[in-house]
Amino acid sequence: MSSIRKYTIATFCALFALAVQAQDLGITIYKLNKASNNMQSKLMGEVFTLTSDANYYFLYPGDWVTGTITLVNGDVHDKLKLRYQAKSDELISYNENGHFLFSVQKDQVKSFSFVDENITRKFIRLTKLNNQHSSMYLEELYNGSTSLLVNWYIFERTVSPYVDKNGLTRAVEYRLQKEYYLYGKQAGLQKIKLNRRALYLQFPENKKEIRKILRQRQLLVQNEQSMVLALSLLKENGIIE
């Protein structure tokens, strides 16, 4: 018992010493170093408290991955540990100097990207939608005058009570859902399904041409890759810019 107390005291002392804080100054600093002095710009945000729910159900990818944030002023912050919080549509970053998580100030972000299972995923922040102010992250699968974007969101539904990984009884289930959109600056966001009909509806005046192109290439539009390929073909053939 005595040794447990000793260890507890020692641990508290170590934790206290680690956090070199100037608490009465109103600014908490940790072990600052050269990397803290990013002269171009600093990342801003709010400290994020990680809950087990968020960790298991809301954050993507499943673990922290290295990524890059491009800010609205053009500055690039790379080699950051990132995850996307799909429930509240926030980008979460890990500050290695301070050992804390924070949600990055959305207004500051133009886009971010990370590699998830060998796929580079790039998210952009949509700032204007049909002339309305907007601020939502969407994954960009294809970038052009008509872009293919994906909205990741968490669908919450009531289910029969069950015991989760942590041994807790739950009556709700969270599922990551994806909605696909075609986005053009004039047309705004158009929700679509991944099939060729979406393209006919988007470009009704070129319906015959699109059908011909897809038939010639024997392209069956049914998933993300085939839709991206279809949009590339439309660009090649001058249907979209």
Partner: protein, 547 residues
């Protein structure tokens, strides 16, 4: 004999190669054009700079500088590049001694380049209180001046004789597209400076090695040093920067072992009033100073002295008298040296979007901050016990109060003494912003933020505070056109202008020009100086006589 021929051949090849490289080098260095060869102390020297495309990777801010033959920076300024061109001015100090000075320029990211060169100008400054000037310094080796070749591709069409106060109308015809950069100017000839100035190739040397070769983009780099006041030793406390007038901006720098700190003031134009503070809980007193960003170019320049001939003396004396009369009749134009403009480089204030914005004027007057916090500031605890005040802000995410002080700001400046708030009346305050969450700015964290914006922006409350340093720093110059005094129609007032025209020409074509002459008689040179696309310096000029 054969061997001698070989040696001669190699020597000729080497000389030709050297000459070739010297010509070509104008395509990879800054070239500074001045609007005149001489000026009077207190004047403004207008400069235009050719920025070759090869230098665009070094950022878009150019530092103009005026250097003495002894290697001292006398004046300068930072200007922004537009395409292959930048222009700005150097205010010649009023008390500067008569002598030969050098105007040149550099890009900060180039400062560590071992072979950093710039083509600048030698300029004479005559002190306006001198009565007679009998001798002047000159370059020991006039061969150092870069020869300006004559070009047949530029033609200046203007009459040869004019009377005082007449209008000069003419055209400059550029026959082809061989030029990368062209500047036309018109100025009264000062025979001495005309003969003893010109373009010089400066080998620039980094004087302040602590300044990093940082690529300045849309802003100037400010460097400085923090030291312990008593021992003079470099200090490594976190340095906080606030800019007066930009309450939503803030930055910090953790100094290196030499105590050096650096800040990029992006989009800051004019003269900034900075507040620097080391973040410390100790009683140690510090000193902070800014280091001027300067590279020297005079190491290899040797100076001699030359006696002036009577006509040369007379021209300078007339010029000095003209300046005296100009100041007497027109006064000194008042420029707002303190003008400053800076947009916040972040889309929101550095402390985030506020949860509450309170304007005390919308409420009853309250006598002190205790009453203000109690009546107007929801979620803010202000306690005053035994003359010690403490603040606590509610953490709206967790619905409890933070157990440490929030970041407190007055006019955007971090404040570490709560006593500053005690006597603030609601009538003193323009607005109060509160952030009720744990904010992050870079590697710093704030347990809530309380930002008080006073109606009085003079920040007099900072006076005499230890470890708070108020410093001035010149940022990017406000863009200005060459501001020659306009011609006067009043015949009773003397018009002693000596510079009339200074313009960059865009390329092939016919460029008309016109200006009004002054009362100054003598010879006026209209010249077109240009850099060809192959990197040669060329000149075409026409002399007109004013009777």
């Amino acid at each position: 004999m054969n061997r001698i021929l070989k040696i001669v051949f190699f020597v000729v090849c080497a000389i030709a190669g050297m000459k070739g490289s010297a010509q070509h080098s104008l395509n990879d260095k800054l070239v500074v054009f001045s609007d005149r060869n001489d000026c009077i102390s207190g004047d403004t020297l207008w400069l235009k700079v050719y920025v070759p495309e090869t230098l665009h990777l070094y950022g878009n801010i150019i530092h103009l500088q005026l250097e003495s033959p002894h290697g001292a920076r006398l004046a300068g300024g930072a200007v922004k590049i537009k395409g292959n061109h930048a222009e700005g001015y150097i205010a010649i100090p009023d008390s500067l001694q008569t002598g030969l000075y050098f105007a040149h320029a550099f890009l900060n990211a180039q400062r560590k380049n071992k072979n950093l060169q710039c083509v600048g100008r030698a300029v004479y400054v005559y002190n306006r209180f001198e009565e007679t000037i009998e001798e002047l310094p000159v370059l020991k080796n006039t061969g150092n001046f870069i020869p300006e070749q004559n070009t047949g591709a530029v033609e200046i069409d203007v009459a040869s004789n004019f009377q005082q106060r007449m209008q000069v109308d003419g055209t400059i015809e550029i026959a082809n597209d061989d030029f990368a950069y062209i500047v036309a100017s018109a100025t009264i000839i000062d025979p001495f400076s005309e003969k003893n100035t010109g373009f010089l190739n400066f080998q620039l040397a980094d004087i302040n090695s602590v300044i990093p070769p940082f690529e300045e983009k849309d802003g100037v780099l400010l460097s400085g040093q923090l030291r312990e006041k008593e021992s003079g030793k470099p200090a490594q406390e976190l340095v906080l920067l606030s800019v007066v007038g930009s309450e939503s901006y803030f930055d910090y720098y953790f100094p290196d072992s030499g105590g050096s700190f650096h800040f990029l003031l992006r989009d800051a134009i004019g003269n900034a009033n900075l507040i620097l503070q080391p973040l410390t809980t100790s009683l140690q007193e510090y000193e902070a100073e800014l280091i001027p960003n300067f590279v020297s170019g005079v190491q290899k320049i040797k100076i001699d002295t030359a006696l002036l001939t009577p006509p040369q003396q007379e021209a300078i004396t007339n010029s000095l008298k003209g300046t005296f009369l100009r100041k007497l009749f027109y006064g000194v134009p008042l420029t707002n040296r303190q003008a400053f403009k800076m947009t916040n480089p972040y889309p929101v204030p550095f402390f985030g979007i506020t949860d509450n914005h309170v304007v005390p004027d919308e409420f009853f007057d309250l006598p002190d901050f205790k009453e203000i916090s109690r009546e107007l500031l929801l979620g803010v605890q202000y306690r005053n016990r035994k003359d010690e005040a403490t603040f606590r802000i509610i953490n709206s995410r967790l619905d409890n109060f933070f157990n440490s002080e929030p970041l407190r700001l007055i006019n955007g400046i971090p404040v570490f003494k709560n006593s500053f708030f005690q006597n603030l009346k609601s009538s003193d305050i323009a607005a109060i912003d509160i952030v009720k969450s744990e904010r992050v700015f870079g590697d710093l964290r704030f347990n809530g933020v309380l930002a008080v914006s006073l109606k009085d922006k003079s920040n007099s409350w900072l006076a005499q505070q230890p470890n708070v340093f108020q410093l001035n720093a010149a940022c990017i110059q406000f863009p200005k056109q060459t501001g020659y005094l306009a011609a006067t129609n009043k015949t009773m007032q003397p018009d002693t202008r000596q510079q009339f025209y200074n313009q960059q020409l865009k390329g092939k074509g016919v460029w008309p020009f016109q200006f009004m002459l002054s009362d100054v008689k003598g010879q006026l040179e209209i010249k077109v100086e240009a850099i060809t696309k192959s990197g040669e310096l060329v000149k075409t000029s026409k002399i007109i006589t004013i009777q």
